[in-house]
């Protein structure tokens, strides 16, 4: 096989493109621009840490099945860690969103980073919702019978039946977490590719 032939291979081209956009020193940087110096920057990584906790506690709940936590105090404790990591997840994600808004972090070719962030937020709201209706308790009975009206009115209820526990549990523990994790990964990779947004340029005290 000639070198030219190897160069034309899909695999070779993909590798070169990936390496061009995201060399190891960008993927795992050891320096940051000096302007990255504020507590507001910790809320992104806090969101990811909370997502890790959500998934770990969710995995333990999945190991024993959807009703384990009603009858076991260990299960109930794991459910509590699942709930509180979700609360911290949304807490951190929303503060992160406020921070990125006030930095106009979409500037300099970073609009897709913003867009994937918002889609991740909306996906997370859906993931949490399917969790609330999969609790198999009074809360899930009430939330599902209420939410069905909103979802049915849009026509989505014809395929997304919030009263179908099996369907909601599948969405909650397979489809939506998969989407949320992939979106988060893309979001973080985009941040690494594009770098952290630089400050507004100011001349005579006014931003340019």
């Amino acid at each position: 096989m000639s070198t030219a032939e190897i160069e034309k291979q899909w695999t070779t081209r993909l590798r070169k493109r990936a390496h061009g956009h995201l060399p190891p020193e960008k993927l795992l940087p050891d320096t940051q621009p000096a302007y990255v110096s504020s507590w507001i920057y910790v809320f992104g990584v806090t969101t990811i840490a909370a997502l890790v906790m959500v998934i770990l506690s969710g995995i333990i709940l999945a190991l024993r099945g959807p009703q384990w936590w009603h009858s076991s105090s260990v299960g109930h404790f794991v459910n509590s860690t699942h709930l509180w990591s979700v609360e911290i997840f949304f807490f951190a994600m929303i503060v992160h969103l406020w921070g990125k808004f006030f930095m106009a972090a979409w500037r300099g070719g970073r609009s897709l980073t913003w867009v994937t962030g918002v889609v991740t937020f909306l996906t997370s709201v859906g993931t949490a919702f399917t969790g609330y209706v999969s609790q198999t308790n009074f809360d899930s009975q009430w939330i599902s019978t209420q939410a069905k009206d909103g979802i049915n009115a849009t026509g989505v209820g014809s395929i997304f039946n919030v009263l179908n526990l099996g369907q909601m549990l599948m969405w909650h523990i397979v489809l939506l977490p998969l989407a949320a994790v992939i979106l988060t990964a893309v979001h973080v990779l985009l941040v690494r590719v594009k770098g952290v947004v630089p400050p507004f340029e100011e001349t005579n005290g006014a931003s340019k």
Partner: protein, 60 residues
């Protein structure tokens, strides 16, 4: 089995909640605390000094 009981919450919040009514707004105290903490966290992040990172003035 005794250690399992110790997993019960120390301050369970199972009693009926308290609610704040203000005009059209009707929010549980628990949610209100969460929202206030979010705003405080945001303001703290803006105003508190970030510990210096031994900045080395290297350009690249």
């Amino acid at each position: 089995m005794a250690f399992l009981w110790s997993l019960a919450a120390l301050i369970p919040l199972d009693n009926y909640g308290h609610y704040i009514h203000w005009g059209v707004i009707d929010i549980s105290v628990a949610n209100f605390i969460v929202v206030v903490l979010m705003v405080l966290a945001f303001l703290a992040a803006l105003f508190l000094p970030f510990p210096g990172r031994n900045r080395r003035k290297e350009s690249r």
